[in-house]
C-alpha cells in the first residue's frame, strides 16, 4: 500500500496519466479527451516543455519572483484540510492510472507517486507557473473537490522539487528523511509465531549460554530482513577504545598478599564434581600425563641425527695419535649410540674430557 519515495516523477505526466482512462468509465474518457487537448496546447506553447523534473528545476531557476506572487495567491485560496480516506482514495486512483499510463507509454515512467505522511502547504520555494496552471487544470477536471486536489498536487510538486534540489546539492541525510523513507513491513503470521516461540525458548532455557548464542545468530539473519544490513544512521558515536594498560612492574608481593591469594584460591576452587574434572585437575597439576601420550614430553631436541652420530669434529683439539685418541674415539662411539642424551650434553661430555686432559698434561709428559 505504502510505497517508497524513489525520486520525483514527471508530475505533469502523472497528472495526464491520472486523467487517462482506466477501466471503462465514461467520465474518464471525457477526461482523456480534455487532457489530450490540453497536452497539445501545452506542447505548442513552449518548446521542449515536457514536465520532467530536470526541466521543471531549470525553469524554476529562471523565473523566481513573478510566479511567487501567483503562488502566494493560490496558497491563500487553498484549503488544506484533507480527510485521510479521501486522500488515500485519490492517491490510489492516481497511482492506478499512472501505472496504466506507464504500461502504455513505457520508458517515460519515473517512479511511483510519492506518498507522504503529512502535507505542508506552505513551502518557501516558488513553483513553476506552468506547473501550477497544469495542476489547477487537472484539479478542475477531477470530479471530487477541486481545491483539495489542487492543494495536494501542488504539495507534491513542491516536495518533488525539494528532493531534486537536495539531490543537486548532495543533501545531507536527516532522520526525518530516513524515517519518511522507511516502509512498514508486513510479517506473516508464521514469522510472528516463530519469533514468539524463540523468545519463549530464550526465557525458558536452563542451559542458556549455548542456545542463546545460536538464537542470537539466527535472529540477526531473518528471512525478510537482517539487522546488520542497511544505511548507517550516524546516531551513535563509537565508544573510545580504552588505552592499553602498560605492563605494570610488580614489586614482590607481600606475605599478606600471598596469604590472601591462598585464601581466595581455597575458597574459589571447587572440588571436582566427577571423575573427569578430577582427571583434568590432575593433568593441570602434572600428576597425570596428557593423552594421547607424547613420548617426547620434556625432550626438546631439535638437532638432526647426524649431529648425534658424527661427533669426530669435536675431537680436533685432541692429539691424533696415542692412547688418549684411542680412548676418546671409544667415548665417541659410545655417545653416538646413546639416545638419551641431547647433543648439548654429549658435547659437554667431550669438552669435560678435553679440559681434564689439559690439566693432566704435565703428568702425561712425564710418562
Amino acid at each position: 500500500m505504502w510505497c517508497r519515495v524513489r525520486g520525483g516523477g514527471g508530475l505533469a505526466a502523472r497528472l495526464l496519466g491520472a486523467a487517462r482512462p482506466h477501466g471503462g468509465a465514461r467520465s474518464k474518457q471525457e477526461l482523456f479527451s480534455t487532457s489530450s487537448v490540453f497536452s497539445k496546447d501545452k506542447d505548442k506553447s513552449a518548446a521542449s516543455k515536457e514536465s520532467t523534473p530536470e526541466g521543471a528545476a531549470k525553469r524554476q531557476e529562471d523565473g523566481a519572483e513573478t510566479p511567487k506572487q501567483q503562488l502566494l495567491d493560490i496558497i491563500g485560496n487553498m484549503k488544506v484540510e484533507v480527510s485521510y480516506r479521501k486522500k488515500l482514495q485519490q492517491l490510489k486512483a492516481s497511482e492506478n492510472k499512472k501505472r496504466a499510463m506507464d504500461k502504455l507509454e513505457g520508458p517515460d515512467s519515473e517512479g511511483s507517486v510519492p506518498q507522504g505522511i503529512t502535507e505542508d502547504a506552505q513551502r518557501g520555494k516558488p513553483l513553476n507557473p506552468e506547473l501550477v496552471k497544469a495542476a489547477s487544470a487537472v484539479a478542475s477536471s477531477f470530479p471530487h473537490d477541486k481545491k483539495q486536489t489542487e492543494s495536494e498536487l501542488l504539495a507534491q510538486l513542491r516536495r518533488h522539487e525539494e528532493t531534486t534540489d537536495k539531490q543537486k546539492k548532495g543533501g545531507t541525510l536527516s532522520i526525518r528523511d530516513v524515517i519518511s523513507e522507511m516502509t512498514i513491513k508486513r510479517q506473516s503470521p508464521a514469522q510472528r509465531r516463530a519469533r514468539i516461540s524463540g523468545l519463549m525458548s530464550l526465557q525458558l532455557d536452563e542451559d542458556g549460554q549455548r542456545i542463546r548464542r545460536e538464537r542470537s545468530s539466527t535472529q540477526s539473519v531473518d528471512s525478510r530482513g537482517s539487522l546488520k544490513v542497511g544505511k548507517r544512521l550516524n546516531i551513535f558515536t563509537k565508544a573510545p577504545t580504552e588505552p592499553e594498560h602498560a605492563l605494570k612492574t610488580v614489586s614482590s608481593p607481600t606475605i599478606w598478599d600471598l596469604e590472601f591469594a591462598k585464601e581466595v584460591a581455597a575458597v574459589t576452587a571447587q572440588p571436582p564434581r566427577n571423575g573427569f574434572e578430577e582427571m583434568i585437575q590432575w593433568t593441570k597439576e602434572g600428576i597425570l600425563w596428557e593423552f594421547p601420550i607424547d613420548n617426547e614430553v620434556g625432550m626438546e631436541d631439535d638437532a638432526e641425527f647426524h649431529e648425534h652420530i658424527f661427533l669426530e669434529k669435536h675431537l680436533e683439539s685432541f692429539p691424533k695419535e696415542g692412547p688418549i685418541r684411542h680412548f676418546m674415539e671409544l667415548v665417541i662411539c659410545g655417545l653416538s649410540k646413546n639416545p638419551y642424551l641431547s647433543v648439548k650434553q654429549k658435547v659437554e661430555h667431550i669438552e669435560w674430557f678435553q679440559k681434564y686432559f689439559e690439566e693432566k698434561k704435565e703428568l702425561l709428559q712425564e710418562i
Binding site: 614489586s251 600471598l258 581466595v264 680412548f327
Partner: protein
C-alpha cells in the same frame, strides 16, 4: 598494580596450595634419617656426571696407569655423600629401611594396609 600483584600471587598460590580434595599433606619428612637420605640423593644427582667420567678413566685398559691412579685420587676427594651407593631405598611413608618393595616405594606393612583397603590400583589378594 595491586590487582596485578594479586593475580601473580594467586597463580603462585595455586601451584603451592593443594587442591581441596582430600589428600595427605606432608610438610616434614618422616624422620631425620629420611632427611639425610634425601640429601644424599640430591648430592648424588649433582655429582653423577663427574663420577661417571672419572670412573670411565679409571676402569680403562688403554690409558696409562698413572692417569688412572690420579683419577682414583680425584674421585676419592669428592664428598662422601655424592656416591650413589650410600642411598638407601627407604619406605616413602614410614622411612622403614627394610622390607621395601621397589615398585611402590612402600614398606611391606604399609603396602598391606593400603591393599586391604583397596587403595592400591590393580592389587588383589593372591589366591591360586
Amino acid at each position: 598494580m595491586a590487582a596485578a600483584a594479586l593475580c601473580w600471587a594467586l597463580r603462585a598460590a595455586r601451584q603451592v596450595l593443594p587442591s581441596p580434595c582430600t589428600r595427605q599433606a606432608r610438610s616434614y619428612y618422616v624422620d631425620w634419617r629420611m632427611l639425610r637420605d634425601v640429601k644424599r640423593r640430591k648430592m648424588a644427582y649433582e655429582y653423577a656426571d663427574e663420577r661417571l667420567r672419572i670412573n670411565a678413566i679409571r676402569k680403562n685398559s688403554i690409558l696409562p696407569k698413572e692417569l688412572q691412579e690420579a683419577a682414583d685420587k680425584e674421585i676419592a676427594a669428592l664428598p662422601r655423600d655424592s656416591c650413589p651407593v650410600r642411598i638407601r631405598n627407604r619406605c616413602v611413608l614410614t622411612s622403614r629401611p627394610r622390607g621395601v618393595k621397589r615398585r611402590w616405594r612402600l614398606s611391606r606393612i604399609v603396602f598391606r594396609h593400603f591393599a586391604d583397603h583397596a587403595q592400591m590400583s590393580g592389587v588383589q589378594r593372591a589366591m591360586w
